[in-house]
Amino acid sequence: MAGIATKHTLPAPFQEYELDDAFDEMVDGAGAVRPHYRHVYEALRELTADELRRRQQIADLSFLHQGITFTVYGRDEGTERIFPNDLLPRVLTREEWARIERGLAQRITALNLFLEDIYHEGRILNDGVVPREIIYSCKHFRRQMRGFHVRKDAYVTIAGTDLIRMPSGEFVVLEDNLRVPSGVSYMLVSREVMKRLFPELFRKCGVQPIEHYSQALLSTLRSLTPQGSPQGTSEPTIVLLTPGVFNSAYFEHAFLARQMGIELVEGRDLVVHDNFVYMRTTAGLRRVDVIYRRIDDDFIDPLAFRADSGLGVPGLFNAYRAGNVSMANALGTGVADDKAVYAYVPAIIRYYLKEDPVLANVETYLMSDPVHRRHVLGRLQEYVVKAVGESGGYGMLIGPQSTAEQRDDFRRRVEADPRNYIAQPTILLSRAPCLLDGNVQPRHVDLRPYILYGDKVTVVPGGLTRVALRKGSLVVNSSQGGGSKDTWVLD
């Protein structure tokens, strides 16, 4: 189908469903509905436009009432918005998922070995596989972590990896999120809503469950309990550390804490004494063993990192280094999701695991390389340029959709600080059917599965499918007008 723009006329509510060069999740190149989408397709044909609208309204209300909102930064007040949720599920086959799962497990295993290595011996640097300058110039490299043994070498305990599907149908990795990835609560909540709205479809399709995520997260956190915790045989105390109610992901923090039955704490609830961490309760101080922290490295301890942080806990880093408390994720993991380091992940996988990567990378040009830089700056309108340390769709230029002014601005920025930028060819993300005004139309999507790394690797089947709801848009980030939809992996 590559390169051939086809237009097929489908029956209602699909009459506006147009195909183009992008891979379509529902319809194949010949215009036929893919077998694994058949049940969804038929169900949609049977439902009237009014009935679809009604179900969309129920879903929206349910998100509103649960207070599922996110905060948009950099605008005026009143920036708390409902997370837009699209009603139609994105469906993956069991085979597609098996490959993704294998690839993600391989990737997180290699990345954890990589982190252990660069914070200790640095073999991969000595062997010249990854250039030393890239690591030491990375703003998320934490020299404070050098030589420190992280419990079970689980640096990245929770990862959210962004996958996209190429026009060929192949899934590739766009981005690793290894610091404090968010969005998993949307995955869980939207599944609950979908089960209420499409019970008969669920039964027919045979969707693999994801409800055990919270349980799996809790056991993963528990597996990090420091050795020699004085509690001995009793349960370790695990807490979720949030920056507080003003954080954009506060809903998720409260949601996960409640699901796991652990305490939701802020920095001011914790105190460090003699290198042990305690939380202040009305019954006195209670020792804390494991912290699922949703605060960035920089803000976690004003004594060790940014002194102006009011969110963190003074002395926490020392307690951590003393081995009296574990944190998930470990500090300093951001060096492995730096977008310049990303370019080396296939090499990292081969180096540590002696295997070929199951999931490929997107072709990436480092702007610190003069040849690449000249090449890309000459054709900026064809490339996506990203700042290496940013996430959430901030600090990037999408060449084909940019103005000359924006391109000049980015050109200046890249030339001023080449190490801080990478470029990738603009990729046509695959498209999936979405419900818009009672009509089904295709929109570009990506996929963010959530990976847990403890005594074993757990990937709940599916993840968060993010949608660029604006027609033609390739940006799926919630801060940039994106939404989400439920992801079904068939059994």
């Binding site: 409260a254 704490v265 609830d269 004494h273 202040r280 309760t281 009305t282 019954a283 006195g284 101080l285």
Partner: protein
């Protein structure tokens, strides 16, 4: 948050959460009290004619426990006005509601969604309203009172009466005990003078005091409408069953503190329980003739001091205790 299952490490309540619930409750009680006092005085002025308004407002503001600098005393009416809508005035009704909501927001997961919604509604209503003249504010004041009462009812019927609820009770009744003490003290300082001119006017003031504590009808049932300073003092300070009397508040406060001690199971609870018990006993064994003979104002000042001690002890025991004292809890 639904009741947490009992785990091997027992039930816990974060000190911060207790702190927020306590202050949410105190600020709301404060807003309601301020609204009621101002509303009653607006009525009184209508009944009395308009002379010497400014002087009255200065006293009203003082009776809310707010100190007025000498140079501002002449602008008392604008001060009263700022007590309604001025968010930058920390004693204002709107500031109290904003702070109550802010505290609730910090612990949104711990209170029922009905509570949050009601407080949120009140907050938005208060933010929206404005009255250029203090005289126009009566609907506003009425809505504060009703909103606060509704919140208390919702709280009592939708939240588990566990440790968190007890902190709410403690905050409400400590605030009430202190507010009534200050109000009665200020009133007696002003009006309890022998053989005063304008007895008619003073009569209205005494009724106003009772109304400020929602006590006029209850007082009439107990003593008839005959107004006697000593009886009013007895009713507002010592009545065991009237919910706005200081004695009643102190008993409710002590009950809450004992329940907190039981739930938290802290061995450091002894001190705060002793101090709260002493406050209750000071009132429970008080005799009005003795109190009047010894000076009511001095007695009320002592009550306020003891209330302050209960607050400090509550904090030292459960909220901002020194680390060393609490290790191996």
């Amino acid at each position: 948050m639904p009741p947490r299952p009992v785990r091997s490490n027992g039930l816990t309540m974060l000190s911060r959460v207790a702190d927020s619930l306590y202050w949410m409750s105190r600020y709301l009680e404060r807003a309601e009290h301020t609204a009621r006092v101002i509303n009653i005085h607006l009525n009184l002025m209508l009944e009395r004619g308009s002379h010497s308004d400014d002087l009255d407002w200065a006293r009203v503001v003082r009776s809310l426990g707010i100190e007025i600098p000498v140079e501002d005393a002449g602008h008392a009416q604008s001060l009263a006005q700022s007590l309604l809508h001025d968010e930058s005035n920390p004693s204002s009704i709107v500031a109290s509601i904003v702070l109550a909501r802010e505290n609730a927001r910090q612990v949104r997961e711990q209170i029922s969604s009905e509570m949050w919604e009601q407080l949120n509604r009140l907050f938005h209503a208060v933010r929206r309203s404005s009255s250029s003249e203090v005289w126009d504010a009566r609907d506003f004041l009425q809505s504060i009172k009703e909103g606060a009462h509704l919140f208390q009812g919702i709280t009592d019927s939708t939240m588990t009466h566990g440790e968190g609820w007890q902190f709410i009770q403690a905050g409400r009744f400590l605030e009430r005990a202190m507010a009534v003490s200050a109000l009665v003290g200020a009133h007696f300082r002003e009006f309890h003078k022998p053989a005063q001119a304008g007895a008619e006017r003073v009569y209205l003031e005494w009724i106003g005091l009772l109304r400020c504590c929602t006590a006029f009808e209850a007082y009439c049932k107990a003593y008839t409408a005959e107004v006697k300073a000593e009886r009013i003092a007895e009713f507002l300070v010592l009545h065991p069953n009237f919910p706005h009397s200081i004695h009643f508040s102190a008993e409710a406060l002590e009950t809450a503190i004992k329940e907190i001690g039981r739930e938290a199971g802290s061995r450091r609870a002894v001190r705060v329980e002793r101090i709260a018990g002493r406050l209750r006993a000071t009132l429970g064994f008080g005799q009005i003739d003795e109190i009047m003979a010894g000076g009511l104002e001095a007695y009320l000042t002592e009550l306020l001091r003891q209330c302050g001690q209960v607050h400090s002890a509550l904090y030292q025991t459960y909220i901002s205790y020194p680390i060393e004292a609490a290790l191996e809890a």
